[in-house]
Amino acid sequence: MKELLKIKGLKAKVGEGEILKGLDLTIHPGETHVIMGPNGAGKSTLASVILGHPAYEVTEGNIVFEGEDITEAKTDERAKKGIFLTFQSPEEVDGITVENFLRTAKSAVTGEAIKAWGFHQELMALMEKLNFESGYASRYLNVGFSGGEKKKNEILQMLTLNPKLAILDETDSGLDVDAVKTVSEGIRNFKNDNNALLIITHSAKLLENLKTDYVHILVEGRIIKTSDASLIDEVGRVGFTAMLPEDLRGGV
């Protein structure tokens, strides 16, 4: 099957500190991948680097999306190709409403003018599914939103932009049980055979209702173990350190 995302030998640093130290990852359409790992392992860095965050410098390796090398591409070009990232703590942007922002984004991603009224109805339907009070559509982007509302807004954006690859960075952190359920339903609605998920998480809560194909353990900038969903339980039982090769154990 054709690869959607192929990362090879990726090394990246911020300032002088190398965070990703030779990382390989391949994702095919239809797959759900989970990345787990201790704090500071480089999970969020990986997500940022896939989207081309300007603070990180790729020193080696490359990122290929649908056969095209995007290692040097600008962030918005990556988004237009179909890569999406939900943020752990999304920025608050004053003066632009959620609805206008999403319409602008959708128009940018699809390259088409989006009719306001049709879009409004689509948005309202999605918000209802997410138990997201419709009034938030006319509020400024994330300004004064609670943690949970921000996360719902991220999922709303994902559903609106309908990317080929969605990277979810700690989407479940800070959510109460009901909100996790709603968000997880939103993710299930999104998922189909043609798109893929890369879920970064600490906990198994969000994954309970999702079919997981691969689980990767990321430690110190490298994927040290890859297996099927059973690995989630193993992490829960033994923790990350036990999975490390001998020479790395002291370092965690």
């Binding site: 962030t75 943020f87 920025e91 942007v93 991603v109 932009l161």
Partner: protein
């Protein structure tokens, strides 16, 4: 002297920059002298008290020092400034009667179009003289007077004599003294008791002559319970010599009256804009300043509200956008001089490409102004590390019963926010423009519609071509 640039780096000024060949019918020599002041007065056929006022102002000008604070004004050489340039058209109330090139200038700026759609009256000044003035019939039939200052001086001499430069005497500062000596043009508005002017009046000031000064005087009286929105716009094409603007605005807001005074200043970057504005507000009256400063090389502008009557209110909403080579020093002053008065100040500034934006304000609460409320919010956004932003708020509170709030924020445009928007497919320049537009949104919504659109356009243009 600075070199002429072939490319203006950021704001697209193409509309503003179209200069007409100078065809002044009459202009005075460069510089400032008693003879020049007398020549201006004679050309205008003024009453003798006005000539005396001018000459007194000139004496004061010669005695007063340059301001010892704020932007450096050393480049100003009054010997090089032509203080009076008359297009010699006379004043018309029909655009068709104006010379083609002057008419075209105002057409490009959209003034006649706006007049038809959304204004109760329009005045247009070209260099030193007002060339057009018209007020809609329904307004004049209610006793609203809207005319140029020369006409007002002939037809309403007593009112003028009682008010002219009473709020802004020549002794206010050096440039007000200069104004007193060589003032010309401007608008006079009188709104009778209880009359609400439904659509705004707008005066537009266009300076076409290179090396000239514009010294228009605007005098507005809003009687008891009356209401007015007055809009002032200004622009000039760019020249490689300095132009000077030192206008004066005096506003008298009577009991229970409301005056909104909106200014959009878009002078070219060879302009020194040293303008003075003051309003005095009687019992339960309100002055609302809306101020947008985009152009000029140097601006010093601090509209002042004197809250003289009990319960009088003042609101100031200002936006300043300083680009390359600009030093824009703006703010406001409020004097609370009666009990129960209140003031609100919201100021936002943006600086980029080495521009400097300074917010300067003074809130004065007199001992007798008990139960005063004042809230000041100023925010600055610097778009790059070459730019500067300063905040200089002064509070002078002379009683214990004042409720004063102040909040200041200075920040840079957030890289994280730009990244966030870009991950949603929005390009870098558009992302920055969205953030800046969002920042100024509380101000844009106060602007007259045509200017709000204009400002959004300015912000967008500002970022186009700035990438890569």
């Amino acid at each position: 002297m600075e070199l002429k640039k072939t490319v203006v780096s950021d704001v697209d000024r193409s509309i503003y920059d179209i200069a007409n060949p100078e065809k002044a019918k009459y202009k005075v020599n460069k510089g400032l002298s008693k003879e020049i002041v007398m020549a201006i007065s004679a050309e205008k056929k003024e009453p003798s008290w006005m000539l005396e006022h001018r000459l007194r102002s000139l004496e004061i000008y010669e005695k007063l020092p340059m301001p010892a604070w704020g932007p450096d004004l050393h480049m100003l050489d009054m010997e090089q400034v032509v203080t009076y340039v008359s297009p010699g058209t006379g004043m018309k109330d029909n655009w068709q009667e104006l010379p083609e090139e002057i008419k075209l200038t105002f057409d490009r700026l959209g003034i006649p179009e706006a007049e038809k759609k959304a204004l109760s009256g329009v005045g247009a000044q070209y260099d030193s003289e007002v060339v057009y003035h018209n007020v809609k019939e329904e307004m004049s039939s209610q006793g609203v007077i809207y005319t140029d200052m020369d006409t007002a001086l002939r037809e309403y001499e007593d009112i003028l004599r009682a008010h002219f430069m009473q709020l802004l005497p020549a002794s206010t500062h050096k440039f007000m003294a200069l104004h007193g000596a060589v003032w010309s043009g401007g608008s006079f508005v009188y709104v009778p008791e209880g009359v609400e002017v439904s659509m705004p009046l707008q005066s537009y000031f266009r300076l076409n002559a290179p090396g000239a000064g514009q010294f228009e005087h605007t005098l507005i009286i809003v009687e008891k319970g009356a209401k007015l929105h007055f809009i002032e716009g200004c622009s000039a094409p760019r020249y490689n010599v300095l132009n000077l603007h030192a206008g004066g605005v005096e506003l008298f807001v009577k009991e229970n009256a409301t005056l909104r005074y909106s200014t959009i200043e878009n002078w070219s970057r060879n302009m020194l804009n040293l303008n003075s504005k003051r309003a005095v507000v009687d019992k339960n009256g309100a002055i609302e300043w809306v101020s947008g400063t985009f152009g000029s090389q140097i601006t010093m502008l601090y509209p002042m509200s004197i809250l003289k009557g009990e319960g009088a209110r003042s609101e100031f909403t200002g936006i300043t956008f300083a680009g390359e080579g600009q030093n824009l020093d703006t703010g406001t002053k409020v004097v609370h001089a009666a009990p129960g008065t209140s003031s609100t100040v919201i100021s936002k500034s943006i600086s980029k490409s080495g521009g400097k934006a300074t917010y300067r304000s003074a809130i004065v609460v007199r001992p007798e102004a008990t139960g005063t409320k004042s809230s000041v919010t100023c925010e600055s956004l610097m778009l790059d590390s070459d730019s500067r932003s300063d905040t200089i708020p002064v509070m002078d509170i002379r009683n214990d019963e004042a409720d004063i709030g102040h909040e200041a924020r200075i920040g840079r445009i957030s890289e994280e926010a730009i990244f966030y928007l870009m991950t949603r497919g929005i390009g870098e320049s558009e992302a920055k423009a969205l953030i800046v537009r969002g920042f100024v949104e509380p101000i844009t919504k106060e602007l007259p519609l045509e200017y709000a659109v204009e400002m959004n356009r300015l912000v967008t243009l500002e970022f186009e071509g700035s990438i890569g």
